[in-house]
């Protein structure tokens, strides 16, 4: 009996030894900060002075219209930018597939914007849409429009342009790599059955892209919920409220208004909401797959 126990302990010790590098990093970089964030969110704070307030920060968030208003832009991106980008990504991926060998240059070209940090892209695009430097100004004035391009009202559409520019190539690239992993036999079989190329693409290959599409959808949904860099940079040229997006509101609450603990509570709510949205997508998507298999 005791021998077995000893063996067991020994083997699990070994396992933990192998796990240690991960566990240390995971514990100190993920679990501990989350725990600290939760603890912080239960305090009131002014400078170095802190006092326990329980769930007061959370009840305040639920009564804070600004926090909920800040979800307008992420929701817009979730409902417009994400589907548009996935559709564009699929189209480009199919185009990539038709030129597997010679298309490397174009794949690189489409991928390039993704390698530019969001803050830099935001800065450059804000200049492209600015009053005094915009190369679009003369173009627009050809069509009789001479007003400002960058206004508070046009920011969501400009965000759409920037984010599509940044991530569509990357999305297409991921989808392309899934496409070339599909066994050639499927397409050949369909071809023998008399399917046209577009039919093969839509009826055979597209359904097989479902899994990467779900993954991409979830990543982009998370990205939309946490959008920060681009509106932050545009905010230098047009007044955007500090609660323009949830992350901007959290940032300004903590670092410019000195409400660190309130910001911590908002961060946790945002994380929970993002989790719920991702889980919901995953559940409904996998349910559909299961339904189909039955």
């Amino acid at each position: 009996m005791s021998l077995i126990n000893k063996k067991k302990i020994k083997s699990s010790l070994k396992a933990y030894l192998f796990l240690a590098p991960f566990l240390v990093a995971f514990g100190s970089m993920i679990v501990y900060p989350i725990g600290l964030g939760i603890k912080l969110s239960m305090y009131g704070q002014r400078g170095a002075r802190m006092w326990y307030v329980g769930f007061e920060n959370y009840t305040r968030i639920f009564n804070d219209p600004l926090f909920w208003e800040s979800f307008k832009v992420p929701l817009f991106l979730l409902l417009v930018q994400v589907p548009v980008m996935l559709a564009l990504g699929v189209m480009i991926a199919f185009m990539f597939e038709t030129r597997k060998r010679s298309g490397a240059f174009y794949r690189l070209l489409y991928y390039l914007p993704y390698t530019i940090p969001g803050i830099v892209a935001g800065l450059v695009w804000s200049y492209i849409f600015s009053d005094s430097m915009s190369p679009l100004g003369p173009l627009f004035s050809l069509f009789g429009y001479t007003g400002k391009i960058l206004t508070r009202g046009s920011v969501p559409s400009i965000l759409l342009v920037i984010i599509l520019w940044q991530f569509t190539g990357y999305t297409a690239f991921i989808l392309y790599s899934s496409l070339i992993a599909i066994p050639r036999e499927y397409a050949e079989a369909a071809q023998i059955d008399g399917a046209a190329n577009w039919q093969i693409a839509l009826r055979v290959k597209l359904p097989l892209l479902r899994d990467p599409l779900i993954t991409l959808f979830i990543f982009n949904a998370i990205g939309a919920m946490q959008v920060f860099n681009e509106p932050r940079m545009l905010g230098d040229l047009v007044v955007l409220p500090p609660y323009y997006t949830p992350t901007m509101y959290i940032y300004s609450s903590a670092f410019s208004q000195g409400r660190f603990t309130y910001a911590a509570a908002m961060g946790i709510i945002l994380a929970v909401l993002t989790c719920i949205i991702s889980l919901y997508m995953l559940r409904t998507a996998s349910k559909q797959i299961l339904d189909r298999q039955h």
Binding site: Q45, R46, G47, A48, R49, Y127, S130, D131, S132, M133, R152, D236, L237, V238, V239, P241, P242, S252, A254, F255, S256, Q257, G258, F260
Partner: protein, 434 residues
């Protein structure tokens, strides 16, 4: 000849003990202190300082505007440098929440007053304790483009009525250009112009915060700007971005009201406009009683996290009052006006013609403007909240959600009172000033 020599020698001998009293000896162990500051080329002053105080080394770090970093260190309870540069408008918040420690242990209050003047020292003092020393002045000045003034036959305004008249004339003559664009946001500017007219909107005295945005004088200032903005004579503009600098560089904006330090900003951000700008003291409501206020300017404070406050105190005092340092700050950091009373000692040698301003001796003009400031008031300890509240209200006005510009003032006051309450300030007195 000999007689003058003796007199000079005597004067020197007499003045030595007085100056020595300004800069006490350092009694501690050799040490290194750290400083965060965004003034450029501060190292020249530091070099001079280390010659006089070889036992104190100063490590200077420039993180740009470091409030976010400082707020984080403060909330964490450690990590602030020994010396922190803070704008006067933010200083009360830091003093109030315990970010600084008093330095009047090493130099008495009277000496501080002698070196910086009572009103300037007010930005570094709370409840009788001195926490730092003021560096540069933010005396408001009126910057204008001589080329545009000549072209359109405009006159430099002496009163605010003149200002409005010239603005209307200019809008008619050149509807695409801007006479003056008040900032969209930037509470310092709006508070500064109220101060310039000789009143306050808030203050601190004897442990109480006073809030009175809607006093008749402050209302008069907002009514004045409101009228010009409502009728479309001038437009509020977003400041500090590339579009704004371009408008100054290319001559689409004719005038700017800003702190005197803006002379340097213009030089670096609007280089093509060299020779076109001039500067004068700002217009007044009553020209027989000219007055000025401040817009910006920073002090250097000793933080609560400092392990060697004595060395830090000696340094901030030397940095901001010794003529050797002030000379460096003027020459290398390009600060036009320092607030120390000892600045006068080097004024003659630095007051030279400035080609960017068409040969004008701007130091003289700005020093005069600076000396029109005879009051100080402590800003509320919620500056960034006060600032963002105003930005939102101004944007609401631009978006058409507020009809009358002057209505912003009471709304702003209400927001500020609510935030003071939220942060637990029960010692707030509303509707009056001390």
């Amino acid at each position: 000849m000999r007689k003058t020599f003796v007199v000079v020698l005597l004067a020197l001998l007499l003045s030595l003990p007085a100056y020595a009293a300004y800069y006490p000896e350092y009694t501690g162990e050799p040490t290194t202190i750290t400083m965060w500051a965004w003034t450029s080329n501060e190292n020249y002053s530091i070099e001079e300082f280390e010659k006089v105080y070889p036992d104190i080394k100063v490590e200077w770090e420039d993180f740009g505007v470091h409030y976010e970093k400082a707020q984080t260190a403060l909330a964490a309870g450690s990590g602030l440098p020994d010396v922190l540069m803070v704008e006067y408008s933010f200083a009360p918040e830091y003093m109030d929440i315990g970010a600084f420690q008093p330095i009047n242990k090493w130099l008495d209050l009277d000496t501080f007053i002698e070196l910086y003047g009572e009103s300037a020292l007010g930005w570094c003092t709370m409840d009788g304790e001195v926490y730092g020393t003021p560096q540069d002045s933010g005396a408001i000045a009126f910057f204008y483009r001589q080329d545009l003034f000549d072209q359109y036959g405009l006159e430099v305004p002496v009163t605010w009525n003149d200002f409005a008249e010239q603005a209307r004339k200019f809008r008619q003559a050149a509807p695409d250009l801007h006479f003056n664009g008040p900032p969209l946001g930037y509470a310092l500017w709006w508070v500064g112009l109220v101060w310039q007219s000789g009143v306050k909107m808030f203050d601190y005295d004897d442990g109480n915060w006073y809030i009175d945005f809607t006093n008749p004088k402050a209302e008069e200032v907002f009514e004045f700007w409101g009228e010009l903005i409502d009728e479309g004579t001038i437009d509020v503009e977003m400041w500090w971005n590339a579009d704004w600098y371009n408008s100054l560089n290319q001559g689409t904006t004719a005038t700017v009201l800003n702190g005197c330090w803006f002379a340097e900003w213009l030089r670096y951000n609007a280089p093509d406009s060299e020779g076109q700008w001039r500067v004068v003291a700002p217009p007044n409501f009553d020209p027989s009683k000219p007055h000025d206020g401040m817009l910006g300017g920073s002090g250097f404070y000793v933080t609560a996290h400092s392990q060697n406050p004595e060395a830090a105190a000696i340094f901030v005092n030397w940095l901001n009052s010794h003529p050797d340092s002030l000379r460096c700050l003027n020459t290398y950091s390009n600060l036009p006006i320092m607030v120390s009373t000892r600045y006068e000692e080097i004024l003659d040698e630095i007051a030279i013609e400035d080609s960017f301003f068409g040969g004008q001796v701007i130091v003289d003009t700005l020093w005069e403007a600076h000396n029109l400031i005879d009051t100080t008031f402590v800003c509320l300890p919620i500056w960034s909240n006060l600032d963002s509240a105003l930005s939102l209200l101004l944007q609401d006005y631009v978006d058409g959600k507020i009809d009358r510009f002057a209505d912003i003032l009471p709304k702003w006051e209400a927001e500020v009172i609510a935030t003071m309450k939220e942060f637990g300030y029960t010692n707030t007195i509303i509707g009056e000033l001390p």
